[in-house]
Symmetry: C2
Subunit: 306 residues, 2 copies
């Protein structure tokens, strides 16, 4: 089990070397991450985009551009379609956003001809290494799907269980979170959390243990679970996956932790045929590299499954 990102990087080094395809790679921060991923033997990269600019930025960063395949496509839309098609065609293992807007990038991900759509909705997982925890935590969905329905939540759990398994968590514990740990008919989120728990008990959601609704303290802290007489809950104090009620709750918690706690994090899109890295400009280089490592172990797991 990868207890932290260092473990995850070790795990990557035991996999077959992965290849990353970058759309519109003419971006300093993205090239820095690509360079670090190369140096740390996490992944090689194919850089699709404005070759002149890529070479110029790469040289400024001290990159040896002979180590990278560069495909010159200046038009943004065309570059994204070319880059995603490399993954679609098996020439690369994972797909990363460079200097293009998110909308265009996602359009390429969902392209019917050359994209990575599965027919299921896209979602997102953020992986946190938080001091004091003996394991990685998987937060979902904190960035992508605004108001997941019950069906969406089933998909999100399945996606995230796959990611957690790729990180070595055999049977992840899933906590559908709410303000309270009891079902309250006036709080639809708690009813849905109980429904997800029942679906898990009845074998409709497998490969994990689901137990909700849970408050954040009971999900993550044994002392809190004990104090509240909730130690008999299946997921008391040792949740791996935190399923948020909606994007507002997820995103606000995500940003509070990122800014107030000394965390390491990485994140990928889910619901795609191959791992997709959609980092934001505010992510540190380390977060981008962690995301590439996360994508690499997920790509390895997907390959095994096929």
């Amino acid at each position: 089990m990868s207890k932290n990102f260092n473990d995850l990087l070790s795990k990557v080094s035991q996999c077959e070397k992965k290849k990353l395809s970058v759309a519109c790679a003419q971006d300093k921060a993205v090239l820095e991450a690509v360079k670090a991923a190369k140096e740390r033997e996490i992944a090689d990269s194919i850089l699709v985009g404005d070759e002149a600019k890529i070479r110029e930025l790469g040289a400024a960063l001290g990159m040896n551009m002979d180590e990278y395949e560069i495909i010159n496509v200046e038009d943004t839309v065309e570059a994204s379609l070319k880059a995603v098609s490399l993954v679609h065609d098996g020439k690369a293992d994972m797909y990363m956003k460079g200097l293009l807007d998110t909308k265009t990038f996602l359009k390429s991900v969902l392209d019917k001809e050359v994209g990575l759509r599965t027919g299921k909705p896209l979602s997102h997982v953020c992986v946190f290494e938080i001091p004091g925890f003996d394991r990685l935590l998987f937060l979902t969905d904190v960035a992508f799907m605004p108001y997941p329905t019950l069906e969406d939540k089933v998909n999100i759990i399945n996606y995230t269980v796959e990611v957690a398994k790729a990180c070595g968590v055999d049977c992840p514990k899933v906590a559908p979170l709410a303000a309270v740990e009891v079902v309250n008919p006036k709080m639809p989120v708690t009813v849905e959390a109980a429904e997800l728990t029942k679906m898990n008990e009845e074998g409709q959601i497998t490969g994990c243990i689901v137990d909700g609704p849970l408050s954040l303290d009971i999900a993550l802290y044994k002392e809190a679970a004990e104090e509240k007489g909730a130690l008999d809950r299946k997921v008391a104090g040792d949740a791996d996956i935190l399923l948020f009620p909606d994007i507002h709750a997820g995103n606000l918690v995500y940003k509070a932790i990122v800014h107030m706690v000394d965390v390491k994090n990485g994140n990928i899109l889910t619901g795609t045929k191959a791992p997709v890295i959609l980092t934001s400009r505010s992510d540190s280089c380390e977060a981008k590299v962690n995301s590439i490592a996360l994508a690499a172990v997920v790509a390895e797991e997907m390959k095994k499954a096929n």
Copy 2:
């Protein structure tokens, strides 16, 4: 302005000494807080409840019981009604929950004859002192009102502005939070946040500056606001009041911060005629004392207003 709880305690020492009425005071943790509040000259207390038990617990805690007025009412409901009536009748300034269930306690708060109802709905504010911040932060509603409507949110802002002012914040900056900082018709929370902003601009919400929707990072961190080109926002990086979309978002953020960050906190109910302290068993003694101090400055402000 009270930059932290130490400042708040100094502020309390400049107010006329306040009196706290405790319902069912036969509770060790509550008596510890009452004792600390007495010793630190934050408040005197009237202890209503099972006198024998109160005296026994007090003696075990080394309290000089001659310093406290004790009113013997053994029945829980009667004790709560007696305790709240002391505040209703002006014999005490604030009301605190002891060893009784929340439902019974709230019933006394809302009692038509002797309670503290205003006709407006109850809400709750949590005050955080977080390392790295030069001010106290006011989070609402993280514990009480499940799904506030637009009208509720106007009330919540008014309540919390009053609390912030009692803590010395002249014109609090209010951030109605969401996952994003732009209005998105598909996200009702963002539309409501914009409506609250407009109501503030048009003078329907006064005594504060409201600016939403805002993401948590833009609301609290200037660097994030700068990076996202949002420095022109009225509340960029210096929000005092964080207004949450609903109780799930609020409570999950609250618990993440309480457990992961070295914070100090205090909290009171709002929407009442006098400050009401409804701490939970999991709150530390320090948090309970901070809540009493917070209640004291709010009581002082309410007295000034009348």
